[in-house]
Amino acid sequence: MNKEKKHRLLRRQLSRFNIDLDKNPELELFVNDVNKTYEHFDQELKINDTQTAKMMSKMTENNQNLQNIIDTIDSFNYHVSHDLKTSIINNISLTRMLNKYINSNKTEKIEELVSRLIKNSNNGLHLIEKYLEISKFESKLIDAPKFELNVKDIALDILSEIQLEGQLTVKIEEKDFDSIYMDELSLKSLLQNFMTNAYKYRRLDTKPELEILLSKEDAFKVLSLKDNGIGIDMKRHGDNLFKPFVRVDTNIEGTGVGLFIIKKIITKLGGSIEVESELKKGTTFTIKIPDK
């Protein structure tokens, strides 16, 4: 709208209120000012709207993350309380049975009950120790100082520490980087878990191997860890792999907390982890950690 037109429009509007614009020329300036301010506010409101929308989506994302954490804790508590309860219920059951037979002459039955009671109490104690270990580990991670750590050096240290030198072949290819900014406990736990898994879940007809490839992708350092083991049935276990106390193969000794802890470490670093696996071929874990 041009100036002339605006002027005519304003004169008409003011005449309705019996105000003559020609007698009060300063009114035009005033109205222009008001309009400008209004436009300014309008602009600002639009900016606020976009910001609000951004904040809302961030909040939804945060809520989802919190919900995931709650689900993990809930699932953890469910397993812990179930395991401890089972242990105590076993003790109650066996004691009750002992009470029933104690005055009988079934010595063999009584002896078996006592030995079951002892074994079961020890198992209960081991369980509690295991849970305490997990929470102790988590609290250690909280303020652990970070350094630039050479992945190969740490990996070879761990390999000899867990006494798998010569039994598990570890190959490390430093394609795009050789060190990563992390706390030592996290990197050690991570590598140790993948090494022991590569060995524990090996194929009996093949020498176990773990290939670690260090590469970069956009703003991420990527560690891909590939083993030649028995593989994981992803259809059956894919969704649950990183949940606590999930055991893929119950014939192999384990507690079901390894991948749960790994996922925790990586999430804490703002990274992600993915799995690809084929039965009887092997498993590849791909870890992406933001590079800073």
């Binding site: 219920i89 059951s93 066996l94 049975m97 079951r116």
Partner: protein, 131 residues
């Protein structure tokens, strides 16, 4: 064919089986108390019995949390095996808790109608089977 004088106990925990077997025998309600520690092995046994035309136990007491497959997954498989049967066994789920997770699954199941809290008591079983 269903044999109401047989009860099958399924739990991965050996101590629980040892105790439950003793409790079920003490009730005097059954001629045969059969114990399994693996749902997979039990499904194999049932398949075999069906093939041979041997009777299936009238009662099942099934643990919920087992590593190979959970109790509800087992029941789903059992339902499929017994699809053509006129008579169906009565299935009790054995549980240690009142966790909501177990209840949600319980409501969805067709065969599993009731649950029993561990540890089992002779009196509870006698009361339950009176009706």
């Amino acid at each position: 064919m269903i044999n109401n004088k047989e009860v099958i106990l399924l739990d991965d925990n050996d101590d629980i089986n040892f105790y439950n077997e003793d409790v079920m025998q003490e009730t005097g309600l059954f001629d045969t108390v059969t114990v399994f520690d693996s749902p997979v092995k039990l499904l194999e046994e049932i398949t075999e019995r069906i093939e041979k035309g041997s009777p299936i136990a009238g009662y099942f007491l099934v643990d919920i949390k087992m590593p190979e497959m959970d109790g509800f997954e087992f029941i789903d498989e059992l339902e499929i095996l017994l699809e053509d049967f006129d008579d169906q066994p009565v299935v009790y789920m054995l549980t240690t808790s009142n966790h909501k997770r177990d209840h949600e699954q319980f409501e969805k199941s067709y065969l599993a109608k009731k649950y029993l809290l561990k540890p089992l008591m002779v009196e509870t079983i006698l009361n339950e089977f009176k009706s």
